[in-house]
Symmetry: C2
């Protein structure tokens, strides 16, 4: 029997869920996994959170140093959120030789190399399954089931809020603003939704996944990022007619030793396995050169799903002989290794004056940039008409330049939206 | 650096793929995982398979004893298939203290307790990720990412051949016999397809998954089993109209301490994540009481996907302090703990003579068994008409009795098919 002492920093939703699982399933975990995990310290402002769990106030620590100096603490679980003091606390824990388990994606994405450095000194371990996709086991899949693989591609739905909003917009043919308001009322979106709807949250998680996949640090701020706020009910309706579903995807690819990483709305064919990932569920589609396509799917948030991932990290950590070391993440991706001019297909929706030659003008611009069209829809009822087309594969920079040129054409009223299309 | 010596029994498709990966990615695995895995012994009738891999004939063993007595062998990988001599060879290996890695589902499902007994004696490890779902990491997901969970339910597509056949029948509106013949010609189905199309293969894999999930041995022969040979193009077409996709599912549930386990064709709503698992892909949907729904998806067969799973087992095994012990699997599920009279919804397709009262007769039978109808379709063009209905949740035994009674009614020509419907 392996006995481990656990300290929990922050007994909020996720920390509380973690404690609940550790307490309720203690015997089961002992029996099945040979690990006895005891909560021996807690750092939280509210003592009643400790007593509400049926734990003794004796374990309430007064500071992080208290915890670092406590020889009964083996693993420090951080569920505080925010950059600081989380980073400082975890650095101190690692320096004191305590392994850490965290669900804090922004902090971890931004501080992984610093935390890894601290861990290297003492041999302590870093566990972060809960940072990416809540209860969905993507980190364990990549580190314990795909070791033989060179990872070629990641396509992921890793933000539950935006997936919930886009699912409801799709099902109800409703506008972004209406659904956002409702999602906020129901607690599926924050009062300030920027981190989610502008794709920041997805970019932190993609930073973690692509760093792990490509053995080179891909910081969040080099990731191309576009949010979902411009998606309209019209786009969703037109997409449906063409067989597409809209999703906010996090995409990373390794192409000839270079890497592209981007977060933006995507039209996916309805038959794609990611297309049926609805509401607040998350899913990651990974392509390895030996295993081919693998997908994991699960609840991206919530006290028990995230708590389940944290407890699985605690048990996994307790059973390791030696913790994994990632010295590769100290090498940051260079400008040269980053593909900014990536390739995609594009859906473009315009409103134009219905005069002869307008379509010829548009196709001439596309021809100039060597872009071919794969399908086109044009309404014929009014003076002002919508034109929607989908291109074949094109380069991002060419497409953006073509769109600028199209905007300047006579008789073009507006380029309403451009949405990338993935297969 | 952990150095392990690997012996491979059988250098066919899967064994050859495994060897290829171990050789080609040796340096990468050393660097990233700190494991140096060397192929130090091979058992195979064809020496050219050894030389074709660029390996020396010195490693060709003459017998399993040769391998068991070889002190440089740490892990024995079995890719021979078949019950014997695979089981005897692996038992000898375990008794000699060698950990084993296998992709042989039928042998493993039938022999797990015996192999586990042999392993308990010496402390060697059993690894079997490749038995279930090829490259799809379902065993690792259940053992390293859901430890905190009580598993409530498993729904799985774990046979690539039948999923390929049903996908093509669905896409082409083709009959079973036509698609089977083509699948055989293309190598997606065996010349003797019984093990796949009658659900035996799925039942072996479900035996492994449910034993792991419920901590009690669920042998393959207690699993309810029905194959796909009765599915017709008509059923698929009618299902589509009602929003369903047909899949061969392996289902296991834990309900109030009792267990049900069954393999049969199922109509799933198109929006279910398993509905978009097409062709030879596999997927497992698991529900844990903390994490909620998790799904893994991947290629269920093939040299490199299965080889990738085997190599991941080798690396994972090499990094363990202590191998997992499953003494629970020595307790077999009892008759009392097995739910045979499970609940489901049912799709029933009949042909009847179009005379007044025929529908009343049918609904009276259903009423007798307390079964409610949720939708009904009836054609009105001919003397002989099809009637199709879907029930609300009912018990299996009631439904089967109701079908028998319906068959005996006047004016019923035939009960064409009964397909269970899952949400």
């Amino acid at each position: 029997m392996k006995k481990v002492g656990v300290a929990i920093l922050g007994l909020g939703v996720v920390g509380g869920g973690t404690a609940r699982i550790l307490i309720d399933r203690k015997e089961r975990i002992k029996e099945e996994y040979g690990v006895e995990a005891n909560i021996v310290a807690v750092l939280d402002k509210f003592p009643e959170r400790v007593t509400n769990l049926g734990l003794s106030l004796d374990i309430l620590a007064t500071s992080i140093d208290d915890i670092c100096n406590n020889p009964t603490v083996d693993i420090v679980v951080e569920c505080m959120g925010g950059l600081e003091p989380a980073k400082t606390f975890l650095t101190k824990a690692l320096e004191a030789g305590k392994s850490i388990v965290t669900s804090n994606k922004e902090m971890f994405a931004k501080s992984w190399p610093d935390l890894e450095k601290a861990a290297q000194k003492t041999g302590a371990g870093l566990y972060y399954e809960a940072t990416t996709g809540g209860g969905m086991p993507i980190i364990r899949t990549m580190t314990t089931a795909m070791q033989a693989n060179n990872i070629l591609e990641i396509k992921a739905i890793i933000n539950g809020t935006t997936n919930y909003i886009l699912t409801r917009m799709t099902e109800e043919n409703a506008d972004y603003a209406t659904v956002l308001k409702d999602a906020q009322a129901l607690g599926f979106a924050e009062r300030n939704p920027v981190a989610d709807v502008e794709g920041y949250d997805s970019s932190y998680k993609l930073s973690i996944l692509s760093t792990l996949a490509f053995n080179k640090r891909v910081p969040a701020d080099v990731i191309f990022r576009e949010g979902i706020t411009n998606i309209t009910a019209d786009d969703i309706k037109l997409g449906k007619e063409m067989g597409y579903i809209v999703k906010l995807l996090a995409i990373a690819k390794q192409i000839n030793g270079k890497i592209e990483a981007r977060v933006h709305p995507v039209f996916l064919p309805k038959s794609h396995p990611l297309a049926s990932v609805s509401n607040s569920f998350n899913a990651v589609f990974v392509t390895g050169d030996a295993v081919g396509d693998i997908m994991t799917y699960g609840r991206g948030a919530g006290a028990l799903p995230t708590g389940s991932a944290i407890v699985s990290d605690i048990i996994y950590c307790a059973r390791q002989v030696e913790h994994a070391r990632y010295s590769e993440i100290f090498t940051e991706i260079t400008e040269d290794e980053l593909i900014k001019n990536f390739e995609s297909e594009y859906y473009v929706r315009l409103t134009v004056h219905d005069v002869p030659g307008v379509l010829a003008d548009i196709t001439n611009v596309l021809k100039k940039y060597n872009i071919s069209i794969s399908q086109i829809k044009q309404d014929k009822n009014n003076d002002i008409i919508p034109i929607t087309f989908v291109t074949q594969k094109a380069h991002e920079f060419d497409m953006m330049n073509a769109v600028k040129d199209i905007e300047k054409l006579d008789n073009i009223i507006k380029v309403e939206n451009v949405i990338r299309v993935e297969e």
